[in-house]
């Protein structure tokens, strides 16, 4: 191959690679604020500290935080410091190789007060891939975290065996 064509190959390849890189990094920016959740390796990404289910109660009556009517859920939270956006914004769903992640941001007067990420695990499976129940070691089973559990499912308890069940403990605690 002559030097002329070697140069052509180098230039063209560099151009192609640069274009690919550009597209790749541009896509990563559309889901603002979600960079580290998108690369997580566990299927079930959990929310960052603040939110617990109890904070949802204020929103049952009327979403108090969506003050400005025109703030429809945007894909990039343009929280300008001057105006001070307020509301709950749900970002575009980002796909990574393990599933989809949707990030929701709550803003108050321009500052982020809460960020949560929800991973949808049970999305539509491709026709080819059958989710079979496979022999699993105890160590491979996803561990339970009692802090998050709100209900317990087991073989049906009777009214008497209920009293000593985990569910009754939860019911007493008001979870």
């Amino acid at each position: 191959m002559s030097t002329r064509s070697k140069t052509a190959v180098l230039l063209a390849s560099a151009g192609v690679l640069a274009a690919g890189w550009q597209i790749g990094t541009a896509q990563g920016q559309t889901t603002a604020l979600s960079t580290d959740t998108a690369t997580t390796t566990t299927e079930t990404t959990t929310a960052t500290p603040t939110a617990t289910p109890t904070t949802t109660t204020p929103t049952t009556t009327a979403p108090t935080t969506t003050a400005t009517a025109e703030t429809t859920p945007t894909t990039s939270a343009s929280a300008s410091t001057s105006g001070g956006a307020t509301g709950t914004f749900t970002g575009a769903t980002a796909s990574n190789r393990f599933g989809t992640v949707t990030v929701t941001v709550t803003l108050k007067a321009g500052s982020i007060t809460d960020v949560s990420a929800k991973a949808t695990i049970y999305e539509q499976k491709s026709a080819r891939y059958v989710n079979m129940a496979l022999p699993t070691l105890k160590s491979e089973v996803i561990a339970a975290d009692s802090a998050d559990v709100s209900n317990v499912s087991g073989a049906t308890y009777t009214t008497s065996s209920y009293l000593t069940s985990l569910q009754s403990a939860l019911d007493k605690a008001g979870r």
Binding site: M1, A12, S13, L17, G20, W21, Q27, Y129, L134, E140
Partner: protein, 479 residues
Amino acid sequence: MTTLHDRPRTAPVAQPDPRPSIAQRYAAQARARNWRADGLEFVGWVSMAVSVALFLADGGAAQFGTISDAFSSVGILAGLTSTNALLLMLLLAARIPVIDATLGQPRATSLHAKLGQWVVIGLVIHTMFLIAGYAMSASATWLAQFLYFWGATADFGWAVLGMVLFLVISFTSVAAARKKLPYEVWHAIHLASYVAVGASIPHMFSMSGLFATNAAARWYWIVLLALTGLALLVFRLGIPLLSTLDSRLTVSRVTQVTPDVINIEVTGRRVADLGARAGQYFHWRFLAPGLWWHQHPFSISAAPTANTLRITVRNLGKGTAALMNVRPGTLVAIEGPYGTFSDAARTTPEVVMIGAGVGIAPIRALLEETAIIPGRAAVVLRASRPEELYLLHEITELCRRRGAALITLVGPRARIDLQGTTRWVPQHQANLSLTQIAPYLAEADVFVCGPDGFTDAVIADLKGHGVPDSRIHEERFVW
């Protein structure tokens, strides 16, 4: 015994010097061929870059953050580039006319083999690293992850089969192994590469995040696979079939040249439409009992006429032995024409042709068609015994008519010369140098055709005289 046959004694009648126009024509032809070669190599390399770029466009650059991600990404990249290289290999073997005319069969084959080595390495990396990456992210062993995939979908099992087949094919294609295997066995194993490719395709689409989520990448690979498959169908099956059916070639005459060499003339219609150039070859299959299951590559030994092609066949045992008794009227199936051993490969006005054994045949054809400047062309024929100078009468007549010098070198080989290199010249002429025969050697196109050992020795000799690669044209056949 060395014989220097007729040198043209009389100068030709005063005519305009043909050299400049011939030089110009061949220079233009060479330039065009170089552009095409560059273009093909450009496409090949850039396609590799595209396969990597698609990975980047899917956000691949960011997937090296953790060790397990990095391993998975390396595995994915190895898979993508190997698949691309594999498709290039298939295209090189598809006998696409532009590739055949530009690169020629020897170069295309060596490229194919080189790519093959890289593909196997890439596929092994793909398997090892990708499974390792997934295993690491789940804190499982490599084997546990492999078994998980094995149980999860049948596509993975097929991909494993494809991988095993590729490994078998590559082991049997290593030079050492290939020498031990009979050609038919080696070829049959090699054909299994189609099965291997087919078995690997499902997992590419059902188990890959890149193909599934990124619509553009998915379609790119689907189109690439489809085009390659189409090229194989058209150029390896379709066109040869059409040529055979359209030309309706049958054996018209069989002439004995020597006790173990025959000329087979094959006649049909629209032979000119086949586009054969003198010196090119076809794959021939004679449809008669006992002959039809052998396919042979033979060069035509004369320029094609409006309805006839001629080949010269020597009895070397196995298939060619049976061919000695082929009868007129036998139908012939062909694939071709292939090869760059023709006037289309010329780059300069001077030419030297060196042949041995039945390799003399394409040279005899070339002599009829290629441009020759009287006094600036030479034909060298090498044989162990005088009987092996096949078609000598025809060649002598052509050389006389066209003004080329003819040198025959007969006698057992001089094994080692004074410098210790293997020589191809006869014993008693151990120190004969080609420049004595053709002083213009360094500026000439040199065509070499003969058995492997002979061809290798001649080419080494030529390079020693400073003949550049671009002016050495060789033809080799699998015996």
